[in-house]
Amino acid sequence: MLTKRIIPCLDIRDRKVTKGVKFQNNVVLGDPVELAARYYNDGCDELVFYDITASSENRRIDIEMVREVASAVRIPFAVGGGISGLNDMHDVLFAGAEKVSVNSLAVRKPDIIKEGAKAFGSQCIVLGMDPVRVNKTEQCPSGYEITIRGFREHTGIDAVQWAKQAEDLGAGEIVVNSVDADGTRIGYEIELTRLIAENVGIPVVASGGAGNPQHLVDVFTQAHADAAIIAGMIHTGEYTIRQIKQELALAGVPVRQEW
């Protein structure tokens, strides 16, 4: 049986892993390669790195870091944030990442999904989206609107319509990061995640709001997420990946327990 994936998310600033709430108050948590290796050994199923730029001033992607991570872990990882086009995708993938995640770039230029899928295969192209809850309107019938640039800008685009469009363009997977839940640690946005999962045929990864193992049980069983991103709950040392997986297994959720 296909197992549900647990994916630690590492937000990178100036080559350090950081954690903030709604993109603010970032605290430094450690070295990305060391943390990646630790979570790999703890049994995470994939990893994702965001905004992996060499420095805040020089917004070039830190390819050397991608190489180091690729040497340190033998599981797939994705890189997102700071991807500016096909060249960046190529460099990141050939440095050893399994996937690239596009978010704001895809909103501005949807064809990047098609071009990326054609050049590297759909399985390499992840659409990241940051929807926020809004009143249901004719323009936004799902009640979730896409934001970009780290939640700073509303786009008027409906989240479900965007997910379907991204699938048609050739995205291999969608990461749904709820703006409302992000960093709150009170649980994933079940309704939003389920809505996206019901409306696309490609895998959906839930993101934002995980605070305890029950939150993962809920998003897998109620929202039908294929994978779940976690961050704060393991970065703080409050839970280990093994503990989370044990609780999922007890709740009847299929997870990989030998590694």
Partner: protein, 206 residues
């Protein structure tokens, strides 16, 4: 030397890194001469069936692959490198493939809308018998899969491992003589995947 067949269809970085991790000497090559003189040959999985076949034909590697098999060189296919060893794929409205193993490659068609295509993630492999390439690896271990199509060999004796997804039980490992081929990616399957690649590097093909 382990030759990793490079058919210019995609990214072989993770295959290269996996062998580096094991301290094994793997050369990524399109040279028929080098491939046929290697001790072990890996045929990795990249791209789609039609474009893979096209580039293999352009590089004149189809016969090389058949010779590797017939010469008894330990030979491992991965993902699309398994699929195109069969006779035909449903991909791109139907593609004739190399045909070393009788059978077809089919598209997942899940009845449950929450069974997504592609299958992405870790799934278990049930072994039908023991094989040197799986030495020290428990039955029903999890490996990393990324695929929309799955192999259906017509001869049951070619099936070494089986996996269930989207209502189908498919052959996730095929083995015949000196050939072993996996639908999953051992190079992305953590310590257990490395164990499998290490076993392969020590296997004499019998």
């Amino acid at each position: 030397m382990i030759a990793v067949i490079d058919y210019k269809a995609g990214n072989l970085t993770s295959v290269r890194l996996a062998f580096e991790t094991l301290g094994l000497n793997a050369e990524i090559t399109s040279s028929s001469r080098k491939i046929l003189s290697a001790d072990h040959v890996v045929f990795p999985g990249v791209g789609a069936a039609r474009s893979a076949m096209r580039t293999l034909e352009q590089l004149e590697l189809v016969d090389t692959i058949k010779q590797v098999f017939h010469n008894g060189i330990p030979f491992m296919g991965i993902c699309v490198g398994l699929q195109i060893l069969l006779e035909r794929s449903e991909e791109d409205d139907g593609v004739d493939t190399i045909g070393l193993i009788p059978g077809m490659v089919k598209l997942f068609s899940p009845a449950d809308p929450f069974d997504k295509v592609p299958q992405i993630g870790w799934n278990s492999v049930a072994l039908r018998y023991s094989h040197p390439v799986f030495n020290g690896i428990s039955d029903n271990s999890n490996f990393y899969f990324v695929h929309s199509y799955y192999p259906m060999p017509s001869d049951n004796s070619d099936i070494l491992g089986q996996t269930e997804y989207a209502g189908a039980t498919f052959s996730s490992v095929i083995a015949r003589n000196n050939l072993v081929a996996t639908q999953f990616h051992p190079e992305k399957s953590g310590r257990i995947g490395l164990q499998l690649l290490d076993n392969f590097s020590k296997w004499n093909g019998n």
